[in-house]
C-alpha cells in the first residue's frame, strides 16, 4: 500500500485492523511485521529557509533530494546519517522520514548530536488514525511535551510520520584527518578520549583494528584545520608511534566508508551495534568474541560482526548501554529481539506509551519492545 496524502494515510490507519509494516524507502532492514504501508508517496520539500537553517519536508522525500537542495545552499545534514544499503543488502532509496524514525546518525554524532537533536517538529498519524502535530520549525521550543523526541527513534511504532521539520547547518570549508598507526583497542580509546577532551573540536574519532588505524577528523576553515591538526599531533605525541595526515579528499572518502561500515559489506555473519561508555569498549570487546569489529564515536559505538546466531547480549552481561541487531536472520531477530531488553520500570512506561499511541497494535508489530 502506498499513500499519497496525509489524509489518505489517516483514513487507512483508522480502518486498519491487522498489523501494518511501516516504511519509507525500506533500506534499513528495520520494518516490522504486517502488510507493507509505504509513505514514499508523501514526498517533497515544503519549505527551506537557508538563513534560518531550517527545512520542512514530507516524510517520504528521498534523502538524495534533501541533500541536493542543501548542497545548493552550501548546507548539510550535520548529523551525517549513515546509508544502510551496503551493510544490510537492501535496495531502493532512503527517505528523510526513515532517517528520523530510526534516529540514524553517523560519526559526527559525537560532536553535533544525533538525528533526534536536529528534529524540530513532526506531524504524524497515531494508531487511531488521528493526525497529531508537535514542535515546530524554530530552534528553541518548550511549548508542551517534546513528542518530537519521542517520535525520533520510535521506528514507526507510535505513529507514522507524515511531515518533519529539521535544523540544518552550513557545510564546512575543508577537513583533514590525523591518523594514528599501530594502536590496540585500549590505546586507541585512550587516544580518542584525549583528543575529544581537547579544545580542538574533533568531529570524528574512529578506530579500525584490522588496519591498525585510529582516525581523528577536524573540520572548518582551512587555516584553522591545519592549526588544530598540528595541535592534536602535539597533544597525542607519545600515545602513538607513527602519525600521518589525510588530505580533505582522502578524509572525506574515509569518513563515508566509516559512516556506512564499509569494512563489513559483503561479509558473512550477524551485524550488531553496541552503544556504551567509550572507556568500557575494550572490556566489552574482550567479552564479545566477535569475528571482527570497528569502533566509532571515540569508542562509544562498537560495530561487531558475529558468527550467525551468536547471543551477544548474554556474553556482554550487564553494562551501561545497549546492543541492537542491525543484520541477522529473521529467526535470530525473533529469538533474541532486535532491541535491547529494557529494565522493568522503563519497559512498563514503554508499554504504556504504546498502548496510548497505538491501542490497536497495528504499527510494526514485533519490532520494538518485547520479543515477538
Amino acid at each position: 500500500m502506498m499513500v499519497r496524502s496525509e489524509q489518505e494515510l489517516a483514513a487507512l490507519v483508522a480502518d486498519a485492523a491487522d498489523p501494518l509494516s511501516i516504511r519509507g524507502g525500506n533500506t534499513r532492514g528495520m520494518a516490522g511485521q504486517g502488510a507493507a504501508l509505504s509513505v514514499a508517496g508523501l514526498s517533497g520539500i515544503i519549505l527551506y529557509e537557508p538563513g534560518a537553517l531550517t527545512m520542512v519536508a514530507q516524510a517520504g522525500t528521498p534523502l538524495d533530494e534533501i541533500e541536493a537542495a542543501l548542497a545548493q545552499e552550501n548546507q548539510r545534514l550535520a548529523f551525517e546519517p549513515m546509508d544502510h544499503r551496503g551493510l544490510v543488502g537492501s535496495q531502493g532509496g532512503p527517505t528523510i522520514g526513515g532517517v528520523f524514525a530510526a534516529n540514524v546518525s553517523g560519526p559526527r554524532r559525537i560532536a553535533v548530536g544525533a538525528a533526534r537533536d536536529f528534529l524540530l517538529g513532526v506531524r504524524f498519524v497515531d494508531g487511531r488514525g488521528v493526525v497529531v502535530k508537535n514542535g515546530g520549525r524554530v530552534m528553541k521550543n518548550v511549548t508542551g511535551y517534546d513528542l518530537v523526541k519521542l517520535m525520533a527513534g520510535s521506528f514507526g511504532t507510535l505513529g507514522v510520520m507524515s511531515e518533519v521539520s529539521f535544523k540544518v547547518l552550513p557545510r564546512v570549508e575543508t577537513q583533514a584527518a590525523l591518523v594514528l598507526h599501530g594502536l590496540d583497542d585500549g590505546q586507541a580509546v585512550a587516544a580518542m578520549s584525549r583528543a575529544m577532551g581537547s579544545p580542538f573540536e574533533v568531529t570524528g574519532a574512529a578506530h579500525d583494528p584490522a588496519k591498525g588505524q585510529t582516525v581523528l577528523r577536524v573540520e572548518g576553515f582551512e587555516a584553522s584545520v591545519a592549526y588544530r591538526i598540528g595541535r592534536l599531533q602535539t597533544e597525542l605525541n607519545g600515545m602513538a608511534g607513527e602519525m600521518t595526515v589525510l588530505t580533505a579528499s582522502e578524509a572525506e572518502a574515509f569518513w563515508e566508508k566509516q559512516r556506512d561500515v564499509a569494512v563489513f559489506h559483503g561479509e558473512e555473519g550477524d551485524i550488531w551495534r553496541v552503544s556504551c561508555k567509550p572507556s568500557d569498549a575494550p572490556a566489552l570487546l574482550a567479552k564479545a568474541g566477535a569475528e571482527a569489529h570497528l569502533l566509532d564515536w571515540a569508542g562509544g559505538l562498537i560495530w561487531l560482526r558475529m558468527a550467525q546466531g551468536s547471543e551477544l547480549r548474554a556474553r556482554l552481561d550487564q553494562f551501561d548501554g545497549h546492543a541492537t541487531i542491525v543484520r541477522a536472520s529473521a529467526q535470530t531477530k525473533a529469538r533474541l529481539g532486535v532491541f535491547h531488553p529494557e529494565a522493568a520500570g522503563v519497559a512498563k512506561l514503554t508499554a504504556g506509551l504504546r498502548a496510548q499511541f497505538d491501542p490497536k497494535g497495528v504499527f510494526n508489530a514485533g519490532l520494538m519492545g518485547a520479543v515477538a
Partner: protein, 482 residues
C-alpha cells in the same frame, strides 16, 4: 490567573500527612508551619502566590521516593521545585499541595573526563556544574541567564537553554541519563553514560515536561572541553530589518557563532542609562561571539565584519581584549535589570523564524502604541528566541491585566508567523491557557496521554502546561476516584 479550587479534604488531612512525612524525613526537612511555608508561595513569576500546605526538602533519591509514595497514597498533589527561578510559574504551589524542593540534593556523584560526563544530584545549580570541572578544562554548555541560581532539576524540567545554545544546544542535547522517581514512588533509571537510548527516547520526553512526569533526582550530563578562547564583536544598525538581514547573512555564510544577541532602541536606551556600557544609540544592536584559537577568532570575526559592513552599520566594534569583551557583554547582561529600573516589566519568551524578525518587531511597535505600554526587545537572534519586555506599573489598577493581554497578543503573533509560545521559559501557568493557539485539541490530547502513562492520577505539578478546560475531565476523574 485561575487555579483549580484546592481539595478541602486533602487540607483536612494535613496533620496526618505531616506525621507520615515526618516518619520518613528528618524534622528539619518537613516545613509545615504556615509562617514558614510562605517562603515557597511563588517562584520568579511573583505576580501569583499561594503558600503550599507543606514543603519538604529531601536529601536523596530514597527520601524522594518515600515522600512520593506517601503523597500518592494520600492523594496529595506534589509540586517539584528546583531553585524556584521559573519565570512561567512552573513551581507555583496550590494550597493543597506538598512542595518537593531538591535544593539539599546538590552533590557531584561522579566526574569522568575520559567519557566526558558528570553525574550530579539535580539540586545542584547550573553554574556550579561547570564550577566542578572548569579547573580541569571542561564546562557544562547550557547557560540560562539564571545559571548562578537555577538548579539542574529545573533545567531538565524546562529544557533550559541560554545565549550560547546556538552552537551547543539546550538541555535535551546535553542530557545523557537520569534517575527519576515516579509519582507512586518507583525509581527508574533512563539512559546512562552512553549516547542515544536503545528504546523509545524517554529521556527526550522527560526533558521539558515541566515536572509533570516524575521527579528527576540525579542526572548524567555531557561536559565539553573549554574552548581556547572567545571574543565578541558589537555592531549597530539604524534599522531593525537590516540587522535581521545581517544575522541571516552571517548564518548563510557558513560561520557558526556561539551567540548572536539582538537589542532594540528602547532596550539600548534603558541599558545605557543604567549600565553605561558605551553602546551606540541606534535602532538595533547585535553582539556576535565566536570561539576558537586566536587565529581562528580573528578569521571568523573578519568574515563577520565584512558581512556587517555590507549592511552599512553605524558602529562596528571588535573586542581586542578581555576588558573590551566584558564591556560589550555588560549592557546585554544588564538589560533586564535596566528595564526593571524604569518600571515593573513582564518578560515574554516567544520564538519566531528568523526571517519573520523585521515584521514581528514592527508589529510589536504598533501594538505598543495601541496598548499604551512601552516594550523593549532583547533576544537570541541566532535561534529566533525573543524576549519582549513590556513595561507596566504594578501599582496602577488594571495595568497588569492590560500587560497580560498585550503579552498574549505578542505570543499569538509569534505562532502566527510560524514560531511558538515559549522558547526556554516553559508554559507553566503563564502560558497554559494559550496552548490552544499553538496546538489543536488532538495535539494536546496526545501530550496529555503521555501524562496518563507516567502519572495516571494527575498528581504531579497539577494545573500547569495544559489549559484548565482541556485537562478538566482528567482531573475530575482523579478527584472522583479518591
Amino acid at each position: 490567573m485561575e487555579m483549580p479550587k484546592p481539595d478541602t479534604e486533602v487540607i483536612a488531612r494535613k496533620a496526618r500527612v505531616v506525621a507520615r512525612l515526618l516518619s520518613v524525613l528528618p524534622d528539619d526537612a518537613v516545613i509545615h508551619d504556615e509562617r514558614e511555608t510562605r517562603a515557597y508561595e511563588c517562584d520568579a513569576l511573583t505576580a501569583y502566590r499561594c503558600p503550599p500546605m507543606v514543603a519538604v526538602l529531601p536529601s536523596n533519591t530514597q527520601e524522594v521516593s518515600d515522600v512520593l509514595r506517601i503523597c500518592h497514597s494520600e492523594g496529595v498533589p506534589v509540586v517539584p521545585r528546583g531553585s524556584g527561578t521559573s519565570l512561567a510559574g512552573g513551581a507555583l504551589p496550590t494550597a493543597d499541595c506538598v512542595i518537593l524542593g531538591v535544593a539539599r540534593m546538590n552533590d557531584v556523584i561522579e566526574t569522568d573526563y575520559d567519557n566526558r560526563l558528570i553525574r550530579v544530584q539535580t539540586g545542584r545549580t547550573n553554574l556550579s556544574v561547570t564550577g566542578a570541572v572548569e579547573a580541569d578544562g571542561f564546562f557544562y554548555a547550557p547557560d540560562p541567564s539564571s545559571q548562578l541560581a537555577c538548579a539542574i532539576a529545573g533545567n531538565i524540567a524546562m529544557n533550559s537553554g541560554g545565549a550560547h545554545c546556538l552552537k551547543y544546544g539546550v538541555t535535551t542535547n546535553n542530557l545523557l541519563g537520569v534517575t527519576m522517581v515516579m509519582m507512586d514512588g518507583e525509581v527508574v533509571e533512563i539512559g546512562g553514560g552512553y549516547m542515544d537510548a536503545g528504546g523509545l527516547d524517554l529521556l527526550g520526553l522527560i526533558c521539558g515536561s515541566e515536572g509533570q512526569l516524575g521527579v528527576v533526582t540525579e542526572a548524567t550530563l555531557r561536559i565539553l572541553p573549554t574552548p581556547e578562547g572567545a571574543r565578541p564583536v558589537l555592531m549597530g544598525f539604524d534599522d531593525n530589518e537590516v540587522a535581521g538581514a545581517c544575522v541571516s547573512d552571517i548564518i548563510k555564510a557558513g560561520v557558526l557563532p556561539v551567540a548572536i544577541e539582538f537589542m532594540d532602541r528602547p532596550c539600548i536606551e534603558a541599558t545605557e542609562a543604567f549600565a553605561k556600557a558605551g553602546y551606540p544609540m541606534c535602532e538595533a544592536l547585535l553582539i556576535v561571539e565566536v570561539e576558537g584559537s586566536d587565529a581562528e577568532i580573528d578569521h571568523q570575526l573578519a568574515l563577520i565584519m565584512e558581512i556587517a559592513r555590507r549592511h552599512n552599520p553605524v558602529e562596528l566594534r571588535e573586542s581586542r581584549s578581555a576588558e573590551e569583551s566584558a564591556k560589550i557583554w555588560l549592557g546585554r547582561k544588564s538589560a533586564f535589570g535596566a528595564m526593571g529600573q524604569i518600571n515593573d516589566y513582564m518578560c515574554l519568551d516567544g520564538t519566531i523564524p528568523v526571517s519573520a524578525l523585521p515584521m514581528v518587531l514592527r508589529r510589536i511597535g504598533e501594538m505598543s502604541q495601541e496598548f499604551g505600554l512601552k516594550v523593549g526587545n532583547v533576544f537570541h537572534a541566532g535561534d529566533g528566541n525573543m524576549h519582549p519586555l513590556i513595561l507596566f506599573d504594578a501599582n496602577k489598577p488594571g495595568d497588569l491585566e492590560l500587560c497580560e493581554t498585550f503579552g498574549a497578543e505578542i505570543l499569538k503573533l509569534c505562532v502566527e508567523v510560524g514560531g511558538c509560545l515559549t522558547g526556554e521559559h516553559g508554559v507553566g501557568i503563564e502560558k497554559r491557557d494559550l496552548m490552544h493557539v499553538q496546538y489543536a485539541a488532538e495535539d494536546l490530547e496526545a501530550q496529555m496521554a503521555v501524562k496518563d502513562v507516567f502519572d495516571p492520577a494527575w498528581l504531579l505539578n497539577p494545573a500547569k502546561v495544559f489549559p484548565l478546560d482541556a485537562s478538566a475531565g482528567r482531573r475530575a476523574v482523579k478527584l472522583a476516584a479518591q
